[in-house]
């Protein structure tokens, strides 16, 4: 986001600032009619409200501190415009009473004008406002997450079930929300040796790009066909195979792909983790056979029984 603040932004801020001063001086030349005046405190409330709304509209994920900072900055810019315009008007008329000239700028018309311009001047600076930390993504609902009994609706259709949760089940639902302890079987699976194999797996570039949203696909992407391959290190892929989901970070993928094929995401996604899923269908058939090699069988005790002929299940 900070890349959005360029030399052009600074130039436009300067132009807006000068234009604001000139316009405020011009507006202050007119004698305002008294019935249109608004009291000072009301104007301050109005100013803070407008500034706060503008900051939130520009960056809806701004932090509370950033929001207050934005309001203060806009008000400060408005004060600078009003002061500069007051000084300018006093100098223009050869008036020695600068204070009176600045007070004149606090009247309704020049002040509203300065407020409007202060928003324009501040707009490029919005990129520097501190943001809220990104919310953790909700985990996809997994097996075992359902704590209630689900019954079909009155029409007998199970597509929209009614969820009945008893008191006891509420406790179990709450317990299920706690971080799950690894079960013995999960632990057993995780301690199974994972082949550590050097090397890469070669995937067709168009198939990988098909997993990306259009906004991050670069101009040179269409230069590649299925015969062009991207090499992805096995040490990135192999540890994920036991989870039946393989993904790589967009930033890593950009390094492995030829230049210009993908571009960095802009806006709120910039700098955030961006996992790119790789379909198993694409990855697994291209793996070296030794990756999927299993260790020596370790059958449970029940599988080690000797079955006498008389026990063998009869044909049905």
């Amino acid at each position: 986001m900070r890349k959005e603040f360029t030399v052009i932004s600074a130039f436009s801020m300067a132009i807006s600032f000068v234009a604001a001063i000139v316009l405020c001086v011009q507006i202050a030349q007119f004698k305002p009619s008294s019935e249109w005046q608004i009291s000072g405190p009301t104007l301050w409330v109005l100013e803070v409200a407008v500034s706060g709304t503008a900051v939130y509209a520009w960056r809806n994920n701004v932090s509370l501190g950033g929001w207050v900072l934005g309001i203060l900055a806009i008000v400060a810019v408005r004060l600078m415009i009003s002061t500069a315009a007051g000084l300018g008007m006093a100098a223009l008329h050869g008036d020695e009473n600068f204070r009176q000239a600045i007070q004149q700028m606090a009247l309704l018309a020049p002040r509203v004008s300065a407020m409007g311009f202060s928003l324009m001047v501040f707009y490029p600076l919005r990129a520097f406002l501190p943001m809220r930390p990104p919310r953790a993504r909700l985990e996809r609902r997994r097996y075992g997450a359902a704590g209630g009994s689900h019954l079909p609706d009155s029409g007998g259709n199970g597509e929209h079930p009614v969820v009945l949760v008893t008191g006891n089940e509420r406790v179990s639902v709450w317990e299920e929300r706690k971080p799950a302890q690894p079960t013995p079987r999960q632990a057993a699976v995780s301690i199974l040796p994972t082949a550590s194999i050097d090397g890469t797996v070669e995937l067709p570039i168009p198939a990988v790009l098909a997993q990306l949203p259009h906004e991050v696909i670069g101009d040179r992407a269409h230069h590649y066909d299925d015969s062009d391959l991207v090499s992805i290190p096995l040490d990135v892929i192999v540890p994920q195979l036991r989870e039946a989901e393989v993904s790589v970070e967009l930033a890593d993928l950009a390094r492995w792909l030829p230049p210009g094929v993908v571009k960095a995401p802009r806006g709120e996604a910039e700098g955030q983790p961006w996992p790119v899923p790789l379909p198993l269908e694409l990855v697994v058939p291209r793996l070296p056979p030794e990756v999927l090699a299993l260790p020596e069988p370790t059958p449970p005790k029940w599988a080690q029984v000797e079955v006498a002929e008389s026990v063998t299940f009869a044909t049905t």
């Binding site: 997994r142 359902a146 969820v163 079987r185 039946a244 069988p297 599988a303 079955v307 026990v311 009869a314």
Partner: protein, 200 residues
């Protein structure tokens, strides 16, 4: 757990077909029901939605040959595979003697297979059971479909312990009786062993 009625000379065991939604558990049971002699089976009870999704469970009682003079009965159950019916799955697992874990071989179902397998482990643990003590076999179903994962990857993902596994096309009956026969054998052998050491 298996019950042995010495007065009636009868052994009764509970086999549960477990797996993700739409993987073919009910199809397994339907095939068994259609291809078993009527005098060796009871009526199949199935509670399903209009969309053919198992709502509660399917139940099929089977009677096998007598072993040492004991009539052997197997109660075959399926669980509803959909994520939201976990309470029902837990209930069906109560007193289970053996599990046939049915996997959907399609690539896009790999994650569901894994989550269902982990769910099986969790639900068994609520009764103090585990796959270390409960016999199970794995059936890789839908092998006739395009876009399926190789058995090597299914083994790597679901069955690294390499318990007995079967490739299946339940709708055609391929691998259905093979898996059933294997689990029944293991359950009975396990039962016989427990009886020898005085557990049952």
């Amino acid at each position: 757990m298996a019950s042995i009625n010495y007065a009636l000379k009868e052994i009764s065991c509970k086999i549960v077909y477990y797996g993700p939604g739409m993987c073919g558990k009910t199809t397994n049971l339907q095939h068994i029901h259609q291809h078993t002699a009527p005098d060796k089976r009871g009526n199949m009870v199935s509670l399903a939605t209009p969309g053919e999704r198992t709502l509660f469970f399917d139940f099929l009682p089977l009677e096998a040959a007598a072993i040492h003079g004991f009539r052997t009965k197997f109660q075959l159950y399926t669980v509803p595979g959909q994520v939201m019916y976990n309470s029902t799955r837990k209930l069906v697992l109560r007193g289970v003697d053996g599990v046939i874990f049915v996997c959907d071989s399609q690539w896009e179902k790999m994650r569901e297979n894994l989550e269902s397998f982990r769910n099986l482990v969790e639900n068994l643990a609520t009764y103090g059971y585990s796959l270390e003590t409960t016999p199970y076999v794995v059936q890789f179903n839908k092998r006739d479909l395009p876009r399926i994962a190789p058995v090597e990857y299914l083994q790597y993902l679901i069955n690294p312990r390499q318990v007995p596994h079967f490739e299946g096309i339940a709708i055609e009956g391929v691998g259905v009786f093979e898996a059933l026969r294997e689990i029944c054998t293991l359950v009975l052998a396990n039962l016989a062993q427990k009886q020898r050491v005085g557990i049952v």
